[in-house]
């Protein structure tokens, strides 16, 4: 039982990252009908940006110029990095996706892949092959609750991830911008005719998605403090699986599917020999899709491929 609980805690943390990244994928996918394959690398860039800001703030603190408590540094890092990465996301949308909005969707997928490669290589050129350590902003404290080990980091990561997902959900449900986004997801062709500014909505979508990716990057840096330029690739593709598994146009679906993917990966490794983890985990996902072909929360829809 403790083993199960321990793994449950672990899976919650692991799923948080998938969830945050998958939300960004899912938003772009449902509103613009694009696969944003640069998203994994936006996550990576967000982590690096966050690391830079955190190092700067910590440096200022140790130089005695601006002494801040650790938690405030973290909050500031999180906010600043989200803003910067959101700008990066809007820039990517402007350069790589807007010119292709009426092109076949796959072309945009390719520009996304290529922007991702440029982000990776640019990082390698700028910072060298050295890996970067994310500064420990909060001293890790381990609590033992009946044989289950929980750290303050894990609790914080899960809370922040869930909080951000919930905030976004509220934004989309309750604001006019959110309504415009939902409308776009409902009918891409007609809604712009109603006076909804498609360019601004698209930019907003990318900004929100990238901001969440940056948050995921920083949380990731807290939990696994080794950053390298290629860390976004596998995360990106797996979150892509989670995004589609969640169902089209559903923030809730993407969040849950992200957590589900985390749970499957962790629990498969717990029950079966861990060498077979990917094999079994993705076979399970295949099975889920056989029975729910439109994803967990997706409605049947017909894609009019714009070929």
């Amino acid at each position: 039982m403790t083993v199960f609980l321990q793994n449950l805690v672990n899976a919650l943390q692991w799923g948080s990252f998938y969830a945050l990244i998958a939300i960004g994928y899912s938003m772009v996918y449902s509103i613009l009908m694009l696969f944003n394959f640069a998203h994994g690398d936006v996550f990576m860039t967000g982590a690096y940006i966050g690391c830079g800001i955190a190092l700067l703030l910590v440096g200022l603190g140790s130089a005695g110029i601006l002494v801040l408590p650790g938690w405030l540094v973290l909050v500031l890092t999180l906010l600043l990095a989200m803003v910067v990465t959101a700008c990066l996301g809007m820039f990517i949308e402007r350069v790589g996706y807007r010119p292709l909005r009426d092109a076949p969707r796959a072309s945009a997928a390719i520009t996304g892949l290529m922007i991702g490669i440029i982000l990776e290589t640019g990082n390698l050129i700028l910072l060298g092959a050295q890996r970067v350590k994310f500064p420990a902003l909060i001293q890790p404290v381990t609590y033992e609750l009946g044989g289950v080990f929980v750290t303050n980091q894990k609790i914080m990561i899960v809370i922040v991830a869930l909080g951000l997902a919930l905030a976004l959900h509220q934004f989309i449900r309750r604001t006019r911008w959110g309504m415009a986004m939902r409308a776009m997801a409902f009918d891409y062709a007609v809604v712009p005719l109603m006076g909804v500014p498609i360019n601004r909505i698209a930019a907003l979508t990318f900004a929100l998605g990238s901001g969440l990716a940056a948050a995921a990057g920083i949380l990731f840096g807290m939990a696994y403090p080794v950053l390298d330029p290629y860390m976004g690739i596998v995360f990106g593709w797996k979150s892509f699986v989670a995004a589609i598994l969640g169902g089209r146009g559903s923030i809730l679906g993407a969040t849950l599917a992200g957590f589900l993917l985390g749970f499957i990966e962790i629990f498969v490794a717990m029950v079966f020999p861990s060498t077979l983890r990917d094999f079994i985990a993705y076979s399970i996902i295949l099975l889920i899709l056989v029975f729910r072909p439109y994803g967990l929360f997706g409605e049947p829809y017909s894609v009019r491929l714009r070929l």
């Binding site: 083993v3 092959a129 890996r131 350590k133 080990f149 717990m270």
Partner: protein
């Protein structure tokens, strides 16, 4: 026929322009570097490049390499294999047939080194990989060598150390199943450990996949298995994650590692959590003496970081080639004959004083005989020599 005149003029201009492009002829020997500069493991390529460049600068500063009474300048031909198998084969072919190198250093990772070794062996060009531990790299290939020790020595060396030094009886192993290097060591370790402590004495044998960053479910299993220590033959960028997560999950026992831990980045990334753990190394940077210390100091001064195992092994690999060129007797200028001569000299290498130990190649094999050092990460975060294990 205006266009004909245009082409004729263009052509004449080009021919004229081509004439002054002559250079002076000094005898040059080219050594190929086939390294993972981009792709998954850029750090490996960088270290390879740096160490090789430093070696070549040294040799050329001393006036070049002397063979049979004649001095040659060394030159590097560096190719990036993008950490891809087919690119490594292409790069090796290019180095051999286009750049006409006398010998090749790298690729370092086995995924690239095995196909590149095939190419080098077919073209009868000596190749030496610093880092590749896959037996396939050198097996049945007289022209392919390596500078590191093999898994079947390193795994048992650790098993001997752990059972004799600490009288441990229950081991746990955590390794990357998708990467042949950790997997190889893990398997040899397990075999040797069970031979010593009876079947079932490896109480947890857990794995993950390359690029994973969360090991919590594996570590949870390991912690519940009651093992005396954890052996994790992972790379230095993964070790901090494993060690820190283990600590957070309540693990307090020792952790042992393999030569892939040896990088000053390990301590930079891991901090205090890694202090007190042991690993096998080709060399220990703290308290190093003689040539090893000199190498470490100069590398640090030049590139700003303590050389990792890749840099040290590359240094030895290219040093072995340099020694073989010196011992080749006489170079004819016919690249095929010269490669043959260098290969023969390389195969006869005996007691080469490398910075990662004394290296000899047994007859008919490209796998060196050398000792392993057990290194402890001390309380200052330095790699301190602890014990030596020889085959």
């Amino acid at each position: 026929m205006k266009n004909v005149r245009f082409f004729a003029v263009l052509f004449a201009v080009l021919c004229l322009a081509a004439l002054p492009a002559a250079g002076q002829k000094t005898p040059v020997l080219k050594i190929g570097i086939n390294a993972e500069i981009t792709g998954d493991i850029p750090k490996v390529g960088e270290a390879t490049k740096y160490a090789a460049q430093m070696y070549v600068e040294d040799v050329n500063k001393a006036g070049g390499i002397e063979v049979g009474g004649k001095k040659y300048r060394l030159e590097l031909a560096i190719e990036d294999n993008e950490a891809k198998a087919e690119s490594a084969a292409k790069a090796a072919t290019k180095l051999i047939t286009v750049d006409e190198v006398i010998a090749i250093v790298g690729p370092q990772a086995s995924k690239q080194a095995v196909p590149a070794g095939e190419v080098c062996n077919n073209y009868k060009t000596p190749m030496i990989s610093g880092w590749s531990t896959n037996p396939n790299t050198t097996k049945d290939r007289p022209y392919v060598f390596r500078a590191c020790f093999l898994d079947d020595f390193q795994g048992p060396a650790l098993s001997i150390f752990a059972s004799q030094e600490y009288k441990f009886t229950k081991a746990a192993v955590l390794y990357d199943v998708a990467s042949d290097y950790p997997k190889g060591i893990a398997e040899f370790f397990k075999k040797d450990w069970e031979k010593r402590n009876g079947p079932g004495s490896v109480v947890a044998y857990e794995s993950f996949t390359t690029k994973d960053t969360d090991f919590s479910s594996q570590l949870t299993k390991i912690i519940n298995s009651g093992a005396d220590f954890l052996f994790t033959p992972q790379y230095y960028n993964e070790v901090p994650l494993i060690v820190q997560q283990a600590k957070q999950l309540g693990w307090k026992k020792p952790i042992l590692g393999s030569d892939s831990w040896a990088s000053d980045e390990l301590v930079k990334l891991c901090g205090k959590d890694c202090f007190g753990h042991f690993f096998v190394s080709h060399y220990a940077s703290a308290g190093a003496k003689g040539a090893t210390k000199e190498f470490i100091d100069r590398y640090k001064a030049k590139y700003g970081s303590i050389p990792d195992d890749v840099a040290a092994l590359t240094w030895d690999a290219i040093g072995l080639i340099g020694a073989a060129i010196r011992n080749a007797g006489k170079l004819t200028g016919d690249i095929k004959k010269d490669r043959e001569a260098v290969r023969n000299a390389l195969a006869k290498t005996k007691d080469y004083p490398g910075i990662t130990g004394t290296i000899s190649f047994p007859p008919g094999s490209g796998d060196p005989i050398k000792c392993a050092n057990i290194v402890k990460i001390n309380d200052k975060g330095e790699f301190e020599f602890y014990k030596s294990v020889c085959p």
